[in-house]
Amino acid sequence: MSSYHLDHLQYLETESIHIMREVAAEFERPTLLFSGGKDSICLLRLAEKAFRPSDIPMPFLNVDTGHHFPELNEFRDRRAAELGGKLIVRTVEGAIASGIAVPTPGEVSRNRLQIPTLLAAMEEFQFDCAIGGARRDEEKARAKERFFSFRDAFGQWDPKNQRPEIWNLYNARVNPGEHMRVFPLSNWTETDIWEYIKQERLEVPSIYFSHRRKAVRRSGQWLPVTEILPPKEKEDVRDLIVRVRTIGDIISTGLVESPANTVDDIIAEIAAARVTERGSRADDKASEAAMEDRKKQGYF
């Protein structure tokens, strides 16, 4: 075998760097969606690889639902500062206060309300492109995403009318008011992400590793005990050794009982896993087409 050959992580990395640079070159005002989660941590490293020794030529944007894990926000702020990047945070709270996002009576989840909050932030800063960390292996509707995914003036995705994407030639043209979502990690799997985190020695928020937490049993999963949705009297509450596999809002993120303390432990755990990553996300289970419906409206 010749040495002029890329292994799988090198192949995925060069593809993602190429996409990052296309975004920087083709758009006037791009932004990078950074939540502090494992996928967006990889995105930031890929941005460093694409643009150093220059600064990363775009600000970071996060929609804070108000239901984030505190560990995640702490990490998000610290990491953005380390990279010398500008971090813009827009909150669902703020969008509700200004009337942009309107909760339905009794609606506790902030999942749906993220959509108008994000779209308002895109409009406020006139962003014409948002780079996101979504991967095609996460979910069936995402498996049909393009790298460059066009959104109309209402922020909507039209899955039946996507631009064909051929070779590595990405059509980045949008008219004023429209925008593009770009997903450089489209071809990465959950395993690739953790192998990359290991290879690049990337720090991740502590909640990905095993820790002790009070958990409540709901809809067949262990969820964190929170003040937002405190346990009712008859609910089963326990002290467990857990970690999170994928991070959503604190009220809907399933906890996995796990002793995994290191990135190597996590890689081994995923290799042996018998359920998918999003199997622990209550928001995806609402119906067979739950993700598709949210994406059409402008979800990430």
Binding site: L12, E13, E15, I17, R163, P164, V275, E288
Partner: protein, 435 residues
């Protein structure tokens, strides 16, 4: 432990040939399916399938597809075995969705063309074979599916193989072709060898995918790097970077080393590679498809859309071009209309000056002077660009020989083009700039 390679393949065939079922079977039998995915399949089987698990539901991700039982867009799937990782593009076979096959196949190392053993070679089989050849896919597998429905008769398999081998020579460039008899529904010869086909000595499909030799698909000669982005740090804290000026891009072919002479086109200026900069440090050499940043010896004006090439085998440079084009939009190709044309890292304006022929899918013969080219049609065109392109023929370089056409106003991607060989290599004016 040896490094794990990625193999990208696509599946194509006509409606109901069992493409989605085949991918479902590959995932299921290679134990790449998870319990919650199997549960979701069982849930939908209870609702719509009369209790029968439908493996196609794994890839048919959109609601309309599940309801109509067809795949309407390219779906990507990922699975791994201890030997390789796979990226699969499930491309629809429905006649009006041929553009999706071009999309899925354009990045593939290998195509799996499904043939229904009962129907044999139909128009779609010919079309998909033709497209695989036109797109320059290095490896093709014809999977003759539903062998269980023809009682695993060897004669039927051979009959189909002979029919395909009969028209393949007309396609010209297909080098590595395999035929495998399978039943995707029952899993025969997909992951495990089937007891029903003792007459078949070859590998099961997965075994072939794991071992087909792809290392030589990237060529190390004839260096090409389109410049994507000029890297100039703004007020760097590190003083050594004050004069840093790098040219970032993904190498589309070949190899480059520090100290080598290169030429920057279209300026035609010769210079030397001073540094190859990467985030992980300086390197002495880089090769396709790595993404790097090159620093050059001379302070010359280089911008996005320029190409850095080696001095041997110079590319062509012209604004008068000839190409095959696959049309992808409901509005037919229009002569004389201005389109945007994206080629490597630059976008120019282009006018199609003539539609010379349209390919007949039955005969693979070009039909001269057709009245129009509509969606899913393939034709030969001449076009003129507002600025010369620096290019190679598609047959020698998929990345510097391809372009897309974008309709002005709607910004739809309407065509995919594959360039013919340049008439002559570029003859730069300033050959002796560098001493």
């Amino acid at each position: 432990m040896h490094p794990i390679e990625i193999l990208r393949f696509n599946t194509c065939g006509s409606v109901d040939d069992g493409k989605s079922t085949l991918i479902g079977r590959l995932l299921y039998d290679s134990k790449n399916l998870m319990e919650d995915q199997i549960e979701a399949l069982e849930r939908s089987a209870d609702i719509t399938g009369g209790g029968q698990i439908n493996l196609a539901n794994l890839t048919d991700g959109l609601r309309a597809e599940r309801e109509q039982g067809i795949t309407i867009d390219v779906a990507y799937r990922y699975f791994a075995t201890p030997r390789r990782k796979f990226i699969v593009a499930d491309t629809p076979g429905h006649v009006q969705y041929t553009r999706n096959m071009v999309t899925g196949a354009s990045t593939a190392n290998l195509s799996v063309v499904l043939v229904d053993a009962r129907q044999g070679v139909i128009e779609q089989t010919r079309r998909h074979s033709y497209l695989a050849a036109l797109l320059g896919i290095p490896h093709v597998v014809f999977a003759v599916n539903k062998m269980d429905l023809v009682d695993w008769k060897e004669e039927r398999f051979l009959e189909i193989r002979d029919a395909i081998e009969g028209f393949l020579p007309k396609l010209g460039v297909l080098k590595d072709v395999k035929f495998i008899p399978i039943s995707a529904l029952n899993g025969d010869n997909v992951v495990e060898a089937s007891p029903h086909s003792p007459w078949y000595q070859g590998p099961a499909l997965l075994g072939h995918l794991e071992t087909v030799h792809i290392a030589s698909d990237w060529d190390l000669t004839t260096f090409r790097m389109p410049v994507q982005w000029v890297n100039r740090p703004n007020n760097p804290k590190d003083h050594s970077l004050h004069d840093f000026r790098g040219f970032s891009g993904q190498i589309s072919r070949g190899l480059v080393q520090v100290g080598w002479q290169v030429m920057v086109l279209p300026a035609g200026i010769k210079t030397t590679v001073k540094q190859i900069w990467t985030y992980d440090g300086l390197v002495a050499e880089a090769f396709a498809p790595q993404s790097v940043t090159l620093c050059l010896e001379h302070d010359i004006d280089v911008s996005r859309g320029d190409m850095i090439v080696d001095l041997e085998n110079l590319p062509g440079m012209s604004s008068e071009l000839r190409a095959h084009v696959c049309w992808m939009n409901q509005r037919p190709l229009q002569r004389g209309k201005k389109y945007f044309l994206k080629h490597t890292s630059q976008t120019v304006q282009a006018v199609i000056t003539s539609l010379d022929s349209r390919t007949n899918i039955q005969t693979f013969e070009p039909e001269p002077e057709p009245s129009e080219l509509t969606i899913n049609g393939i034709g030969e065109i001449h076009l003129r660009t507002s600025k010369p392109l620096i290019y190679d023929s598609y047959a020698t370089n998929r990345l510097t020989g391809s372009f897309i056409l974008i309709e002005q106003g709607t910004n739809q991607t309407v065509g995919a083009g594959m360039l013919f060989p340049p008439k002559e290599p570029v003859r730069p004016e300033y050959q002796d700039f560098a001493i």
